[in-house]
């Protein structure tokens, strides 16, 4: 079996995790830029982070036969200071030339503020200008439904095709609207928040397999880098076919990510 984890923050994970993921069948990961758990003190901190994502992390993954790709942005949590965010955004175009960069992400909203929205719109404009795909973070918990709608409205106001945008962290109350508007939808498998493997399987049964994937979003918090293979087991236990399981954990990510010429598995 082989699978892709299309959203995981390997900079926060140990090399042992790469090994275990490879043993479980992972052949590729994509890593969006995100909040480190603390606010960086300068734009230079992001420059170093982007170097880590584009230069160092692909080599660490390659030791285990895993292809590593990345998405670049300033995350919504640190985007509430527009002046600072613009300094960071100015660094991104040079890094878009790196061969493992797939697009802009994970952009979105955190507390659904005007400041966050301004920077979201500027990063959507960046994606438009450089013809980049977009990976979207949607807010946590009670803020998710409202934020998801604001984000989709902002993207719909741009010229970016919804089929080149993945709206991540969907749950039962947001997945339908995301798919109905033509976007791709990502389910994040977390132990306490977002969805469990059981609920991910439920969502697939209710909404089908088209434009839907699942990821671990493994990071520095409570998360599981083996969440995707565990969800595969959950689906198999429930009687889903191997074709269905492969579609949501390999075929769909490959189809979406393959819209970037930088996404090469061979």
């Amino acid at each position: 079996m082989r699978y892709i984890d299309p959203h995981i923050h390997m900079v926060s994970r140990t090399t042992d995790d790469y090994q275990r993921m490879a043993q479980a069948g992972c052949i590729a990961v994509t890593e969006p830029a995100f909040w480190a758990g603390f606010d960086r003190s300068s734009a230079q901190g992001f420059y170093d982070y982007y170097r880590q994502l584009t230069e160092y992390e692909p080599k660490r993954a390659a030791q285990f036969g895993i292809k590593h790709f990345t998405w670049l942005c300033i995350n919504p949590k640190e985007a509430d200071d527009p002046g600072f965010a613009r300094e960071v955004i100015a660094l991104i175009p040079d890094f878009l030339e790196k061969e493992t960069v797939l697009g802009i992400g994970e952009i979105g909203l955190n507390k659904n503020t005007k400041n966050e929205l301004i920077i979201l719109e500027e990063q959507i404009a960046l994606a438009e200008k450089y013809n980049q795909m977009v990976l979207v973070h949607t807010p946590h918990l009670e803020d998710k439904q409202k934020g998801t709608r604001i984000i989709m409205d902002a993207i719909s106001a741009s010229s970016i095709e919804p089929g080149r945008v993945l709206i991540d962290h969907v749950e039962e109350h947001t997945v339908s609207e995301v798919l109905d508007r033509g976007f791709w939808a990502g389910m994040t498998l977390y132990p306490d928040t977002k969805v469990t493997p059981q609920r991910a399987a439920d969502i697939i049964e209710m909404f089908g397999t088209e434009r839907l994937w699942m990821n671990s979003a493994g990071d520095w918090g409570c998360s599981d880098p083996l969440a995707v293979p565990k969800a595969r087991l959950e689906m198999a236990k429930r009687g889903h076919s191997s074709e269905t399981i492969d579609q949501v954990t390999f075929g769909n990510p490959q189809t979406f990510l393959g819209q970037s010429e930088n996404f090469k598995l061979e």
Binding site: K111, N115, H140, L141, Q145, K146, D202, G239
Partner: protein
């Protein structure tokens, strides 16, 4: 869509065989959590909005209607339309909107 379209590959007996023990444990966890609240000293006269939302969500479980997960998530969502300028001074996400305590949490 309706849950009555039988999209689960398992029949009902198989679902129960597969998941009953897991959810029996989770159900008892919820009961024990409520018991723990009963045994805890109150703080002031205010009812915590999260507790109100939680109990409203429990009512959804037994109302006989389908789409329970979606409706509970809807109940636990912020339905306001205001967009504040900045996040400065805001707390992190708490899992339930403040309005749930005052409006009874319409799902």
């Amino acid at each position: 869509m309706s849950d009555s379209e039988f999209t689960c590959p398992q029949n009902r007996e198989e679902v129960i065989n597969t998941y009953f023990m897991e959810h029996r444990a989770k159900l008892i966890d919820v009961a024990a959590y409520l018991d723990r609240l009963d045994r805890a000293r109150p703080v002031g006269d205010e009812t915590d909005f999260r507790d109100v939302a939680f109990r409203n969500a429990i009512a959804i479980l037994t109302d006989g209607e389908s789409q329970r997960a979606r409706r509970i998530l809807d109940l636990l969502s912020d339905h306001s339309t205001e967009i504040p300028q900045s996040a400065e001074g805001m707390k992190g996400a708490l899992g339930a909107p403040l309005v749930a305590a005052t409006e009874g949490g319409e799902a």
